[in-house]
Amino acid sequence: MKRSARLITILVLTFVVSQTALAQIEYERPVDVAPTEEDIGEGYVTPAVQRPLPRSTLLNITDTVLLLGAMGISAWLGLVRRSRTGIVVLAIVCAVYFGFYRKGCVCPIGAIQNVAVALTDPSYAVSYVVIAFFFAPLVLALLFGRVFCGGVCPFGAIQELVVLRPVQVPRRLDRALGLLKYVYLGLAIWFAVLPAVERDFIICRFDPFVGFFRRTGPAYMLIIGGALLVLGMFIGRPYCRYLCPYGGLLAQLARFSWKGVTITPDKELDCGLCAESCPYGAIEKLRAVRTSCLSCARCYTACPRERAPAREDASAESHEATG
């Protein structure tokens, strides 16, 4: 609590200071030869050059608060309410806000690069918003699993919304492809920590979905993004499972999460409906694999126990089941 209060204070102070600093910057006349207002005559006044201000810090703070709120809602929807509808609504809202409105920037996936540079280059500093966006989903992953992936991340959200007829990917193939995201993570960090002139942010450069959010982009990127979305209709969320470098970090942290989706063995019916319903291969041998679970709440919808009308009878058991 204290840390967040301090963080908020720092953010508010930054906002105030930056506004003041901008107000003090005035134009000087470095060149004497330009004609003066008296020379020009007739009450002429030199117009000021309009300098639109960048996005205000207050709005950036708002984004951070919304991110935290959305992840909190994702955790609640996924673990407490267990509402698939809720997750879908959250996914739509976040796709619209973080995706189409904010055009996908600032994002935690790209922030990997900024943080990597900040840790290796003493002259490089990141902003508070980037720090918040990078660390908050990781902390929440340690606590509640991959709630960021569950409807908050705009990439995940649009892929989530196009899942039509998902097929189960064979386990070995799934594992092998899943290693690709760690390779991508390594490459991204490698290119990011190069000296400034050679540095390249490859995650941003090869971002498949940002072209849709911006409604513009190089043709090859839009084609790749489109191809991933089409693929996503049949293989659930291929980017998230096999390519997302941040997902790699979240996966490893979610392994130790405090709360998360659990399928208790001695209470289940062995019906396997949850495993069939999971498009992401996150249920193996009827156990939830927290590294792969993307908090989509489909398994609850499929579980006959969850749909049992007499919730109060099963409440003690189901509380145990998902605690």
Partner: protein, 204 residues
């Protein structure tokens, strides 16, 4: 709960605690040296269209074509504090073109005709050459190609026109494609508090 569960739970708590501490530690370290929001800034002392000494060259038009937006977020602006308000402006007119019957160059320089020319102040009814003219760049038309910037540069002009990243248009990409394309590394990320002051040319 049996002992196995308790030990596993304890181990889990320990790992989580360590993880939180680790993440928190790195976050605190980064926050300590954090800077305010960065914005992309075009440094006129590096941009070849603006920097003194680079004359007799073709304008570098990369800012117009590299931005992810269809119409670049980099636009030319005329700093009115520095503009000479000349009758024959080398950025408005193509001064190498033939002279028409009014004594003015026949061709304009801007390929998109984005510069507007208006007499200002007291206007001489007899001699248009006796007037001062305001040159305003229509930002809706400008694509940031930099041809006018080069033409205005000292010594042919006073260097009042410069290329600038317009923050109401810039998407603030983490990887600016203009910055990546610029051969002079003129576009860089600067913290907001240090990005506001206009860049000055070195004293001439």
């Amino acid at each position: 709960m049996n002992h196995e569960t308790t030990r596993r739970e304890l181990l889990g708590h320990a790992v989580r605690g360590a993880g939180l501490l680790g993440l928190g530690g790195v976050a605190v370290y980064l926050t300590a040296k954090a800077d305010d929001e960065g914005v992309w800034v075009l440094d006129t002392s590096k941009c070849v269209n603006s920097r003194l000494g680079a004359t007799g060259i073709e304008a570098c038009e990369l800012c117009a074509t590299s931005c992810v937006r269809p119409l670049s977020a980099v636009r030319a602006i005329n700093d009115f504090e520095k503009c000479g308000r000349c009758y024959i402006c080398p950025a408005y007119f193509d001064v190498t073109s033939a002279v028409d019957e009014n004594g003015l160059p026949s061709a304009k320089l801007c390929p998109r005709d984005a510069i507007k020319r208006e007499p200002i102040g007291w206007v001489d009814p007899d001699d248009p050459a006796n007037n001062f003219y305001e040159y305003t760049i229509d930002e809706a038309l400008c694509n940031g190609c930099g041809i006018c910037v080069l033409a205005c540069k000292d010594p042919s002009g006073l260097g009042s026109i410069r290329l600038e990243v317009r923050y109401d248009l810039c998407l603030d990409c983490n990887r600016c494609s203009n910055a990546a394309a610029c051969p002079d590394d003129a576009i860089d990320r600067k913290p907001l508090s240090r990005a506001g002051a206009p860049q000055r040319h070195p004293a001439s």
